[in-house]
Structure formats: structure tokens, C-alpha cells
């Protein structure tokens, strides 16, 4: 049952990932990307990472994708005609992506297989455990990421501001 669920979710993720690349309109790309994110969030639930699944949906589907949709709406990019790369470049892109995939799979095949987990701790992805680890072992990176957010916020506002002259 879980294996079939894994196959279905992987199929949905890969198919909608391909549709992100190949769909004509940017709005459809955003919508397909949201489908991919939901499939990945379901994978997180399958992997006992419930807290990350919730955060993933809130951050990606709720914040980042809305930002993308806002920008597409403001730039009025919802046009069917859009410049495309020449066929030769597209062909080269597909070849390059395929070669990268083959390289990654080949690197995976040369590794020793990790045996299936025996004494699994299914409580690892719950918010209590993650919060303990985050605020005990990773307190400094957590604080630094707040500085990063402040810098990103100021930077985004500064860049997107209209010039006076």
C-alpha cells in the first residue's frame, strides 16, 4: 500500500515537474509547481516528517508561489506567445539534463546500499523533537538566519523601489 502510494506520488511529482518546464503560459507553470510541492509534502508525511510537511505547504504553496503569481500578474506575462530558444539549443539542453541524470544515477549505483532501517524512531519528525534539536544544537544558525531575513527584506524593498529620477 505504502509502496503504491510512493509510486503514485513520485509519478505526480515528476509529471508536474516536467509540465513546469514545458507548459506554455507562466501561470500554468506556477500551478504545476504547486502540484509538485504538494506531492513532495505528501512524501514528507510518508517519511514521518509531519512538521516539515506542514511548513513546506505553508512556506512554498502559501508564500513563495503566491509571490510568483503576484509578480506574473503585475508584469502581465499571461501571454501565449513568448520567445523560445532555437531547436538546437533545446536539444542540447535535453541532452545535458539527460547526461546529468545518468551521471547521478551512475554515482548512486556505485555506492553501497544502505540497509533498511531496523529500529526506526518514528517520533523524529514531530515538532517537539525538532524544536529541541533546533534550539539546542542549531541555535546560532537560527539566529543568523533571522539576520539573513532582515537583509533580504531590506534588499528586496530597496531593489524593487522606483527610482526618483
Amino acid at each position: 500500500m505504502t509502496l503504491y502510494l510512493f509510486y503514485i506520488l513520485s509519478f505526480v511529482a515528476i509529471l508536474s515537474g516536467l509540465m513546469v518546464v514545458f507548459s506554455k503560459s507562466p501561470v500554468y507553470s506556477v500551478l504545476y509547481l504547486i502540484v509538485t510541492f504538494f506531492a513532495i509534502a505528501a512524501h514528507y508525511v510518508l517519511l514521518n516528517a509531519q512538521f516539515l510537511a506542514a511548513v513546506h505547504i505553508i512556506v512554498y504553496a502559501g508564500a513563495i508561489m503566491v509571490l510568483f503569481l503576484y509578480v506574473i500578474m503585475m508584469l502581465n506575462l499571461n501571454k501565449e506567445v513568448e520567445p523560445h530558444k532555437p531547436i538546437a539549443v533545446k536539444f542540447a539542453a535535453v541532452i545535458a539534463g539527460g547526461i546529468l541524470l545518468i551521471t547521478l544515477v551512475g554515482a548512486m549505483r556505485s555506492t553501497q546500499s544502505l540497509s533498511k532501517a531496523e529500529n526506526v524512531n518514528s517520533q523524529i519528525g514531530l515538532i517537539e523533537n525538532l524544536g529541541t534539536v533546533l534550539f539546542r544544537d542549531f541555535l546560532l544558525p537560527f539566529e543568523i538566519s533571522s539576520v539573513l531575513f532582515l537583509a533580504a527584506m531590506v534588499g528586496a524593498v530597496m531593489i524593487a523601489k522606483k527610482d526618483k529620477n
Binding site: 509547481l33 523524529i124 538566519s145 531575513f149
Partner: protein, 105 residues
């Protein structure tokens, strides 16, 4: 029953490799800068999925905390990237990356 006991870790590595390759393919394939940003998000998500898979299989919570940080960095990256994109659009009236080859000429 969770996926850890049923699905081998190789399946997750394979899925992440495919998603990452789709992201790379999209960056090389398209000219629209917004779609390229989306494909970068796809690549980040492939890496996140692999980190969560390894974290669950090894019963180590540190991997999931890393994913948390990657999400924070991705959010900041998208905010700044889209702001840059807005400014490019204001100056060139297009999101086509082929216009941005001033360094080449």
C-alpha cells in the same frame, strides 16, 4: 506503516535525481526568467526531499533541521530574485534572459 520500512532508500535517491535533473533541464531550456527561478525552486526541493529521506532512514533529526534552514534561504532568495526581476522588467520591458547579455558584448 511508514515508507521507511517499505521503500528502499534508492528509490528516494532516484526520485530526487530525476527532480533535480528536471530543474536543470528547465534552467537550460527556457528563456523566461520567472520560469528559471521556479526551476531553481524545484532543484532546492529535490535536495530537501533527499535530506528528509536520509534523516528519516538514519533516525537523525539534524537533516530535517537543515531542510528547515534551506526553506528559509529559499524564501529569502525568491524575494530578492523576484525584486531583481521586477527591476529588470521595468528597465527592459521583458523577462527574457537573452536581453541580458551586456557582459558578453
Amino acid at each position: 506503516m511508514s515508507a521507511i520500512q517499505v521503500v528502499p532508500i534508492h528509490f528516494y535517491i532516484l526520485l530526487s535525481a530525476v527532480l533535480f535533473s528536471i530543474g536543470v533541464l528547465g534552467v537550460l531550456f527556457r528563456r523566461n526568467a520567472i520560469i528559471i527561478l521556479m526551476c531553481i525552486e524545484l532543484m532546492l526541493n529535490a535536495v530537501n526531499l533527499l535530506l528528509v529521506a536520509f534523516s528519516s532512514y538514519m533516525s537523525d533529526a539534524a537533516g530535517q533541521v537543515f531542510v528547515f534552514f534551506i526553506m528559509a534561504v529559499a524564501a529569502a532568495e525568491v524575494a530578492v530574485g523576484l525584486a531583481i526581476l521586477m527591476m529588470i522588467f521595468r528597465n527592459t520591458k521583458s523577462t527574457d534572459i537573452e536581453f541580458l547579455n551586456k557582459l558578453k558584448h
